[in-house]
Symmetry: none
Subunit: 408 residues, 2 copies
């Protein structure tokens, strides 16, 4: 028997409320330069401290596998309980989700960027001098006005920042991944986007579609400036992922501000709640929607942004902002509350990392690990140990008393 | 190479003595109502403390998988090192073992209970008003006297408590699981016990056997009271599990008082030692049998019973009773001693739970985790970390120096 089948077979429908608060990039490193403290350790967190005193279990979560630094896609898929090695989501799909496009299962998406080509079709600047967003929008508009379909497939274009945009092909029987239509350096022609799996008829069909798109689009750009060509990378289809609600018997809501996280939540079938722009507003909205859902994913971006900047002080303040807002969430305490990150973003590294993120779990049956605070160092001593992120929601379900006993 | 093959290939025969003392349901939660203490933390345990002071490794064990609450069957199979997802043991088999029936591989067992039927065969009371054990014994005797065999299969009946009994079919080519011959509510006829896997010829044969048993048995009960029918559930065969002695190169003895645990030990081929009724007697018997076996499974039921009752004080006392008896075991110290549970049974939950149970391991090479006592909170800090129960005996073997080096 597979473990997921065991979980599914034991799952009971309950009225429990589960809340997963993701402080993006929360985990950090205690480095000498910062008084041997992490931002979470340095932050004043009276409300979090009170929660810990009320009885919590702590531990650390390996986002994907030891040593693997996840992007937002695999990081969140794992958090949502989907093994990111089993459910791979291509870069094009992530980029499309990040731009707020609502993809359907089977849609093929590609990251694209405008470039310059010489008369022989050789790439002379892969980013066309990093053209301005406004120019990108104009060129996308030009293509979108002329190309609505290729064969039976619908073509959707969405400009991003600078030279970047996204192309989505929506039709039957398409499949990625394809090799990049990008030479990855200047001085070469645009290669054909060939199927990575030559045996896949769907991928071959998709490759023909991309070639046909190029054949129609390049002539439209031929006399344009500052870019007269484009490259496509990470060409992949939106995989068909088991829906959250079926998997967990929990109707789920997403309270995120950034499109990428809304997109990732939507990928697993969560309902997007639009409107809130600050964490305080997100928590208030959680309270307002409390009766309508069983599971709430609440995403807070700031800690990751400041970690990426290497700005210790700003990351500490972001955590304090979270702490100040926490009582709004606790106005209607969920039956199971988890506070964690999707990965670590240590200030000292100015980027995502593989270091297991700290996790706090509070429920009527979490017991107490007798720790004073929620910190990386404290979490090392907790009863949850170090575990893989893909088990987090299963643990939350257990604490919500959603699992029947296994065997007699 | 599979991990089990690696372990087997490296296993050496030694004269080491390994003892696994299972305090059933030992793990608990530190809750505010009990001064933020678990029964293990609240108990006075001078002998256990002395053992810890002598140098022990501690950790916590996930009984099956994160969030999964095991029954005694999967809990003990995992403790014995058999993945309970690979070796599933049906409810009927567990019930039969619990009544002390010695099942052979391939035996099909069902939980049964007497019920009342109206003239049309509709179930009017699934438990026949919860008839007395004496009435159950009489009705089982009546059936057993008339039905010895169905076709080539032997039929074994054993009464349990109240309306409950067990039916075992012993013959060639039988296999479960079958759907229940139980409508699960009153007002419906007894459904046929159909194979869950319709493709299994053995299961189809077993379903015919069950139908033939009903055809012979129901007429015998037709004029009886207080019950005139019966239902059968959890119809499954005893799986063929690799024998403990072959798997570990350890001749194993079971020192348990309750039939269920003797049965589970026997399922993997341990030798049952009968006689002892108290933990002190079990430890004395261990000393007496020391030279005859390499592995001792010593099972102590009390902590689980009191946990199920939510009786913190009684669970604490049960642990103190264990501590008082411990010197009897230490009269002939095993080379490797493990003290743990099969799962947690937190008083606050009045039932089994998924919370990893604490583990203590003492050997000449366990080193010291420098902890003062053996407790849940202490075990969180131990060198064993949080690990899956199925690795426990492998760890014990390692500490017994039973594994050769892997590779050069």
């Amino acid at each position: 028997m597979k473990l997921d089948e065991l979980y599914s077979g034991l799952t009971l429908e309950t009225k429990a409320k589960l809340a997963l608060v993701v402080l993006d990039g929360l985990g950090d490193l205690a480095t000498m330069g910062q008084g041997e403290m992490t931002p979470l350790e340095a932050a004043r967190t009276p409300n979090l401290d009170a929660l810990v005193a009320a009885g919590c279990a702590q531990g650390r979560m390996t986002p994907v596998a030891p040593g693997i630094t996840p992007g937002s896609g695999p990081g969140h898929l794992a958090l949502f309980g989907y093994d990111p090695l089993e459910y791979t989501v291509g870069r094009g799909v992530i980029e499309a989700l990040g731009l707020g496009l609502e993809l359907k299962a089977g849609d093929v998406a590609a990251r694209a960027n405008f470039c310059t080509l010489d008369r022989k079709g050789i790439v002379t600047d892969r980013r066309a001098g990093r053209i301005e967003t406004r120019a990108c929008e104009r060129l996308c508009g030009l293509l979108a006005a002329k190309i609505k379909r290729i064969g039976t497939a619908q073509v959707i274009l969405k400009p991003g920042k600078g030279h970047r945009f996204v192309v989505v092909f929506r039709g039957r029987g398409l499949e990625g991944p394809l090799a990049d239509a990008d030479p990855h350096r200047d001085g070469l022609p645009i290669p054909q986007a060939k199927p990575l799996d030559a045996a896949s008829a769907k991928a071959r069909k998709t490759a023909e579609l991309v070639a046909a798109f190029y054949a129609e689009a390049l002539p439209l750009l031929a006399r344009e400036s500052p870019a007269n060509g484009f490259l496509m990378r990470g060409i992949a289809h939106r995989p068909d992922i088991p829906r959250f609600e079926e998997r967990y018997k929990l109707k789920a809501a997403c309270l995120a501000v950034y499109p990428m996280y809304k997109g990732l939540a939507q990928l697993v079938g969560m309902h997007k709640i639009e409107g809130p722009q600050t964490l305080a507003q997100q928590f208030d909205r959680y309270v307002a929607e409390y009766d309508r859902y069983g599971f709430f994913f609440i995403h807070y971006k700031r800690p990751d942004m400041h970690g990426e900047d290497g700005d210790f002080e700003a990351k500490r303040q972001a955590i304090e902002e979270f702490d100040a807002a926490l009582p709004r969430l606790m106005a209607r305490k969920p039956d199971v509350l988890v506070i964690t990150g999707d990965h670590s973003t240590p200030c000292a590294m100015k980027g995502h990392s593989w270091h297991p993120q700290p996790v706090l779990l509070h429920s009527a049956v979490s017991g107490s690990d007798k720790l004073d605070r929620f910190t990386e160092t404290g979490a090392n001593l907790g009863s949850l140990g170090v575990f893989e992120a893909k088990y987090l929601i299963r643990l939350m379900q257990a604490h919500a008393r959603m699992f029947d006993k296994f065997g007699a």
